[in-house]
Amino acid sequence: MVHNSLNPEIRRLPEIIVNQIAAGEVVERPAAAVKELVENAIDAGATAIDIAVRDGGKAQISVTDNGHGMTPDDLLLAVERHATSKLPDDDLVLIKSLGFRGEALPSIGAVARLTLTSRTADADSAWSLSVNGGKIGKPVPAAQGPGTRIDVRELFYATPARLKFLKTPRTEANHISDTLERLAMAHPGIAFSLEIDGKRRFQYWRPANDLLDNDAQLFRLAAVMGQDFADNAMTIMAERQGLTLSGFAGLPTLNYPTARHQYLFVNGRPVRDKLLFGAVRGAYQDFLARDRNPALALFVDCPADDVDVNVHPAKTEVRFRDPGLIRGLIVGALKHALAEAGHRASTTVSQAALGSFQAQSQAPYRTNTNHYAPRGAAEAVAQYFAPPNTGTAVGIGLPDLDAGPSARDEPFSEMTSGEAQDFPLGAARAQLHETYVIAQTADGLVIVDQHAAHERLVYEHMKTAMANGDVARQVLLLPEIVEMDEAAAGRISDRAAEFAELGLILEPFGQGAVIIREVPALLGQIDITTMVKDLAEELAEYDKALGLKDRLADVCSTMACHGSVRAGRRMQAEEMNALLRDMEATPHSGQCNHGRPTYVELKLKDIERLFGRR
């Protein structure tokens, strides 16, 4: 948490501290200047900060806050190097504010035309001070309400070399926007707005006062990361040895090609740290394909002396005293949340499905708002088609579902609506396109992707079996000889002992071949040749030093994929219900190994909405 110093008296830093502070450019691009200015405003206790930039920040940056302001004397000190009000104990180890070096304003003042205008709460007027290319002017009275406004014009005009390295105004503006988003996420209690070339980019409101901390945070994350994230976020909360981890992590079904939507904050400071990405990857590896990434925002709070923020002048890197502890905390908390959410498929998925259903219904029947037909007639028609309005689920007669040749008919009738549908995933009613199982639940319907679901189940069962060290193996009556290139065969044979633990018994067979004698029984009848070749290919990508166990998830996935019910296989009614029951009993079965949902659920009220009945 940021502790604002309520006593803005500015003092000169002793020499020792000055030397402790790493030298370097504070302001490398406009976004860095914006960051410094906004952090100052935050340190000043502002509750609303408005930022406006022109020409990517090169022409102008202004930051206006409603913080505690500065007196004319403060103004003069503020622009002097290493003058700060924020290191009360002269102890760099105990940094609690965002700023502490007293070098941001002087640095900006040295390369731009800087104007500070400020008024403290108890002063009757504001004062303004200008610095041009390092030359400090005199404070003059100005008109302004309480708070501070910093204007930076012609950034880098005094250092043309730096100016040349700037990207297009659009790129620089995007950097500014990114920077501000992160700051806004870290400070949900402060309102932020950004205007670029006179156009409003965003406005993040302060949450209502009665929101609890957690909800306020989610409110802000929703504003920045999108409502999708908020709807599919799991709450993260963990504590260990004085460290607190909080925040939100997206369900695996909400995933992206890059790690761009992963945010880490340490003591309120946005940081970019590889540690986060590694930990996130580790926690989600069972749920996501290697090239997909979840979205999350995590907040670490730790005693100031557990973390060194003074690694880089831009303060985006941090150094933890015990990185293993942080990593463990993050991985553990994420895994825990994922386990709890195992059955929550992303609502975005069913939202999207719903959306497309709705798109179809746009066509000819727009009955809910405009009754073009004479009223009486429309109602009569509506009643004629309406299912009996009993308020509970209406048994779906299978023949009606039998829309095309690929829908199958099976005698499902003996399953009454009462029993099986009380299960969370309901009672199987039909198989469509030999790929999807449709089940009726107490308050809606569930569509299961049979291949994805089965793959997940095999994977989870394998994992459990391996953890218990008892993988049942089917001995092969006809051992299978798999031929491949010599290197691949070598890679497989080298790891025969490890594969044995996973239930795959093999030996080298001459050059460039292996012979498979036993396979994990729960894979059933599989295409052994292809599976072993796939494994060989994967081994090529693994680090030789890593044991297969470390890549268990990958290996299991590959095997599970081969042992699963492929899409396009007919299933008997009992087989479908067994699949549903197995899914309910198995943790994490809401997503397949690649992070796609294994089933989606449509609530009756969603279906009713589709038909305009709500």
């Binding site: 040749p405 690929s406 069962h461 459990t464 079996a465 218990n468 008892d470 049942a472 193996r473 089917q474 001995v475 092969l476 009556l477 006809l478 299978e480 036993e518 029984a521 729960l522 059933g524 009848q525 599989i526 295409d527 040749t529 292809t530 067994a578 197995d582 009993a585």
Partner: protein, 372 residues
């Protein structure tokens, strides 16, 4: 073409042939059944290119000729006509008119010339086998046919004449295996089958043949080359391509010196296996057999800590053994055994076990254990 026929007569043969027709067809003519009238007979033919069924029946022929009509539609129409009705069928001008009582149907036809021919070719080997024997060969082996498609040569029943090298009589053998278990059933070698090549009859042909074999008690005539088989009896002909592949040398995997003989009452054993394996939900359904003098204990457990055991008395006097199996595989085999006594011949927990009916040497099943 014009003929009149009794509805149930037509329905019966139509039911036989239309089941070959795939529901989804990219080639339109393959969705059709070919009808040909002449010489007091109507002949119906359907094919999926690999498998062709052809059946004739006597009818009152008004005009000879041939055409093709949509198989499933035609079948559905005839099925819905009242029992005992007379049906008059006329082809003219690319249409098939079906008239029965007051019902009139007009179907779109495709010309008979476009219907794929049968390309008979030479079928040098011919023999006749009793329908009961043929049913026996199929019934007791088909459960072991592999469904995994990469080893396509296991997707059928291998039929060949045994060499008699072991000094025994030459037999006609049917073998199927999915790589986990194997079934081998034999009958006396029919006359004319001595020189036959080993053939692999694909699963779909096996299924259709099995259905048709129920309709007769007559001898079934089999003609074959090494690429085709033609089976005929009564007025039915079924012709199928054979799987072009080499069936593995299965004899090598059948153990000859398994000496741990366990004799069980087959029905009691079957019921116990079924009960105990209820506990394991997974596909592999592992079950463990623990045998020592006179006693068999079946046990199963699931990953989630549930477990089950059942003990039964058996005939066993060899050293104690513990061996695991896939319960589903075990039941598949016991279901083939009709008599009351079954025998398991074991070697050890990692080697093939033979299962057979006591006193019946015609069928033999090999089951690979599971290591649990």
């Amino acid at each position: 073409m014009k003929f009149t026929i009794e509805r149930s007569t037509l329905l019966k043969i139509l039911a036989h042939v239309q089941s070959v027709v795939e529901r989804r067809n990219t080639i339109p003519i393959l969705a059709n059944v070919r009808l040909e009238a002449g010489d007091g007979m109507v002949r119906l033919t359907a094919t999926d290119m690999d498998l062709t069924i052809d059946e004739s029946v006597a009818a009152d022929i008004g005009a000879s000729g041939a055409t093709t009509a949509p198989a499933h539609l035609f079948y559905d129409i005839i099925r819905k006509l009242p029992d005992g009705a007379q049906v008059e069928i006329t082809a003219n001008d690319g249409r098939l008119d079906i008239v029965s009582g007051r019902s009139v149907f007009n179907l779109n036809c495709l010309p008979a010339e476009d219907f794929p021919g049968q390309g008979d070719g030479d079928l040098p080997h011919k023999f006749t086998i009793g329908s009961a024997e043929l049913r026996g060969l199929i019934d007791r082996t088909r459960f072991a046919i592999s469904t995994e498609e990469t080893r396509y040569y296991l997707n059928g029943i291998y039929i060949h004449a045994s060499s008699g090298d072991d000094g025994g009589q030459k037999m006609l053998r049917a073998v199927a295996t999915d790589g986990h278990r194997l079934a081998r059933v034999e009958v006396e070698l029919p006359d004319g089958a001595e020189g036959m090549p080993g053939i692999i009859v694909p699963r779909k042909a096996v299924a259709e043949l099995r259905k048709l074999a129920d309709t007769t008690s007559a001898g079934i005539e089999i003609s074959l080359s090494d690429t085709r088989i033609v089976v005929s009896f009564d007025n039915i002909t079924l012709a199928s391509k054979l799987i072009d592949g080499k069936f593995p040398d299965y004899e090598r995997v059948i153990p000859t010196d398994n000496d741990k003989l366990l004799a069980v009452d087959c029905r009691t054993f079957e019921a116990a296996v079924d009960r105990v394996s209820t506990i394991s939900t997974e596909k592999s359904r592992a079950i463990k057999l623990k045998v020592d003098a006179g006693n068999l204990t079946l046990s199963a457990s699931s990953a989630e800590t549930s477990s089950a055991t059942e003990a039964m008395e058996v005939d066993y006097d060899r050293e104690a053994i513990e061996i695991g199996f896939n319960a589903g595989y075990l039941l598949d085999i016991t279901q083939q055994i009709e008599g009351s006594d079954a025998e398991l011949l074991m070697a050890d927990a990692g080697s093939p076990t033979i299962v057979r009916e006591a006193g019946d040497l015609s069928a033999l099943y090999v089951l690979m254990p599971m290591r649990v």
